[in-house]
């Protein structure tokens, strides 16, 4: 500690240290706004924002992540895709070939709706199976249908799969002034947001079937999605997530000690998207079931170790059977081993890889004595048939459980 008592070697020019007791207090206040220092070491930021109006397709409730990606990573305007209606689906169905897979029809319907909302860049991702060709064919169909004033951000065109090429492509189509440093930072935020949306969904599905106050879980979920939608920075995402998870945990439930548990596996898009599978998750929740859905972006794209999964199902398949086949078989096996009461397998009409998974699941069902309900969804909008089948399935597994 510095002593003020004796300072024998003090130089002449140095200010004399006042005794603390001698220093009198001073209060200052000036009018007006804070003035910056004359030189802060920073040039004013140039406006990098692009006025391109980017739109995605509708996919479960990932829209906030798409929005965040567009606004914070691509730094462009985001046009939300209108909630799909019967008309949107019908439109998509009319525009596409008869037996193309169903997500294609849903997505192209969304695109047409988004273009009518004024979007001028449509984003299509790349991946596996027919998805590789979605973007190109959809662009062709939309142009033939008379929508000319748009560009496609089709990640299938980046054949190399290198980050550098993806950035160059985004710069070319959406925003030439894109800041890479800023983009990378916020891409991490988008990544976290996707993880959070999935974590929230998993918690929701596990407990929402046992809510005490009807509609309370839905309310918290809506709040969560709107807080994600409002997020502007990475910390907004974390805050919103934490708050919503706490709110979700605070809700009263009347969960029995041993509830009926159902696991959902299936085709990537249809198994997750409520519009495609006629709100199947909610229907099951309303029956009072603890649900778990294996498929999500974070489970399949971000945290999936295919070699480990393949090893875990080696008695059922020697090779990887298709894009999501190994994932689904492994997930179904996990559910069976964890003692789930039933498994629902969801696919879109004509989905080749999921059709090929079905015999494996039939075998698994036999080996583990777990009922598997196979459901195929096309662009139908009537859910009476689905209700009957779900009720029958629920009755069967509930009775089996009691016995």
């Amino acid at each position: 500690m510095r002593s003020f008592q004796s300072q024998p070697e003090q130089g002449v020019g140095e200010p004399r240290v006042k005794r603390p007791a001698e220093e009198r207090g001073r209060i200052v206040m000036r009018e007006g706004k804070p003035r910056p220092l004359f030189f802060t070491g920073k040039r004013p930021k140039r406006d990098r924002h692009s006025r391109r109006k980017v739109s995605f397709f509708h996919f479960r409730n990932y829209e906030p992540a798409f929005k965040y990606f567009t606004e914070q990573v691509l730094d462009a305007d985001f046009v939300p895709t209108p909630t799909p209606t019967r008309a949107t689906i019908k439109r998509g169905e009319e525009m596409s070939a008869d037996y193309v897979c169903t997500p294609f029809k849903h997505i192209i319907g969304d695109y047409a709706a988004a273009l009518e909302q004024g979007a001028d860049v449509l984003v299509q991702v790349t991946g596996f199976c027919r998805l590789n060709y979605y973007g190109e064919l959809q662009e062709m169909i939309l142009r033939d249908a008379g929508y000319t004033d748009f560009q496609m951000l089709n990640f299938s065109y980046v054949a190399s799969g290198k980050m550098r090429d993806y950035i160059a492509y985004c710069k070319k189509v959406v925003n030439p002034n894109l800041s890479v440093a800023h983009g990378v930072k916020n891409l991490l935020g988008a990544y976290r947001m996707v993880e959070h949306i999935d974590a929230f969904r998993d918690r929701y599905l596990a407990n929402a079937g046992f809510e005490v106050e009807p509609g309370s879980f839905q309310r918290v979920r809506k709040e969560f999605i709107s807080s994600m939608n409002a997020a502007k920075t990475n910390s907004d995402i974390e805050d919103g997530f934490r708050r919503s998870m706490d709110a979700l945990d605070a809700l009263a439930t009347k969960k029995p000690a041993d509830p009926v548990r159902v696991g959902i596996v299936g085709e990537y898009y249809t198994a997750q998207d409520p519009t495609s599978c006629l709100n199947l998750e909610q229907k099951l929740l309303d029956m009072g079931v603890e649900l778990s859905n294996a498929m999500s972006i974070s489970a399949f794209n971000l945290h999936f170790n295919i070699d480990a999964a393949q090893a875990s199902i080696s008695e059922y398949s020697t090779y990887d059977m298709g894009p999501t086949s190994t994932f689904n078989i492994a997930a179904a096996k996990r559910y069976a081993e964890a003692g789930y009461d039933g498994i629902v397998h969801i696919k879109s009409a004509g989905c080749t890889p999921e059709i090929d998974v079905m015999p494996v699941l039939q075998r698994l069902s036999r080996d583990y004595h777990v009922p598997v309900l196979f459901l195929t969804f096309d662009t139908q909008t009537s859910d009476a048939g689905l209700d009957t089948r779900l009720e029958a399935f629920y009755d069967m597994i509930a009775m089996k459980k009691v016995r």
Binding site: N132, Y133, D144, Y316, M321, G350
Partner: protein, 333 residues
């Protein structure tokens, strides 16, 4: 799969190898046969598809499977009944980023095995995996399989080389034949030239007598000259297809599209044929209809229906329209 020379040869007891006459047999059959014959196995092929094959296959498969895969399981079943030691079902995935196969071919060995187990039967499947972008090259796959038969590295290499050469020679001869035919046609004077129709379909559809045979017969009966889109120089066709599309992921469809482009000026019409419900074709046919202009296109979906009258009528009317058009419209006929 890594090479396993010198390890335990777990397939050494397999003497009679069955190859189902379905799906990619029509593309790689010669290579497969030669390969197993070189390894000293007896190769058993079952009879060409007929209604009974389809019925057996239908019982073994999930309802929504495509016609071609139902036929495939029917053929496997026929081979099992014939008492072969094992059935050869490779898992083919891809030769490049946009040169992949339908996921059906990727799943085939496991699909066959599981379908049989579900039906309470057994089938011993021998298989290999080709997925070049991930490092499972074609040659390694063949050599690895030969090693499991107890072949030495030298024998394995010889067998692979013989197989690849035989297939290449066969493909080249088919392509040459068709090229000769096209040249001969173009030399004929306009008036004498028969109607030239290109059948663009997966080889297991167009060359299977039960599926595409009907269409070919109907076309020939009408006096048309039939060309096949899969009997051209495949590597040139593949290259050409990149002019058409950047992102079509299927190698077979790419080759078909490439040869449509290559033969475009020599033909009067195109028949696009697909087995219901074919995944790759569901998108590629749409694209072809939108982008290949100037030639009439008949899209035929072949179903498991009994009877061929429906197909025949469509083909006949298509040929009629084309021949009227060739004569300068209905009024000048």
């Amino acid at each position: 799969m890594s090479l396993e020379f010198g390890r335990r040869a777990d397939l050494a007891d397999v003497r009679r190898v069955g190859i189902p006459r379905a799906l990619l047999y029509y593309r790689y059959g010669i290579a497969w046969r030669t390969f197993f014959e070189q390894l000293g196995c007896e190769v058993v092929l079952d009879a060409p598809s007929d209604r009974a094959t389809l019925e057996t296959g239908d019982h073994l498969s999930v309802d929504e499977c495509c016609l071609a895969s139902k036929l495939f399981l029917g053929h496997v079943s026929a081979l099992v009944d014939e008492g072969v030691d094992a059935v050869f079902v490779p898992s083919l995935m891809s030769y490049g980023r946009f040169e992949t196969f339908c996921t059906k071919f990727q799943a085939l060995p496991d699909l066959a095995e599981n379908a049989f187990i579900v039906a309470g039967r057994r089938v011993r499947v021998i298989s290999f995996r080709i997925d070049e972008p991930k490092g499972d090259a074609e040659e390694d796959a063949y050599l690895g399989l030969a090693a499991r038969f107890g072949a030495s590295r030298k024998e394995a290499k010889r067998a692979y080389k013989a197989a690849a050469d035989a297939q290449r020679a066969y493909d080249a001869s088919m392509a040459r034949e068709q090229e000769k035919l096209v040249k001969g046609l173009s030399k004929l004077p306009e008036a004498e030239r028969p109607l030239t129709i290109l059948i663009a379909a997966h080889p297991y559809v167009s060359h299977d007598p039960f599926v595409g045979g009907v269409v070919e017969d109907a076309l020939r009966e009408q006096g048309a000259c039939v060309l096949f889109a899969d009997e051209t120089d495949r590597s040139r066709a593949l290259k050409r297809s990149y002019d058409f599309s950047h992102s079509i992921p299927w190698i077979v469809n790419r080759e078909l599209i490439g040869s449509i482009l290559m033969l475009h000026e020599h033909i009067d019409g195109i028949v696009l044929m697909s087995a219901y419900p074919c995944g790759p074709d569901s998108m590629c046919d749409d694209a072809i209809e939108r982008c290949i202009k100037g030639k009439p296109i008949l899209t035929l979906t072949v179903d498991a229906q009994a009877g061929t009258a429906g197909v025949e009528t469509r083909v006949e009317s298509f040929v009629d329209i084309l021949s009227y058009q060739k004569k300068g419209g209905y009024l000048n006929a």
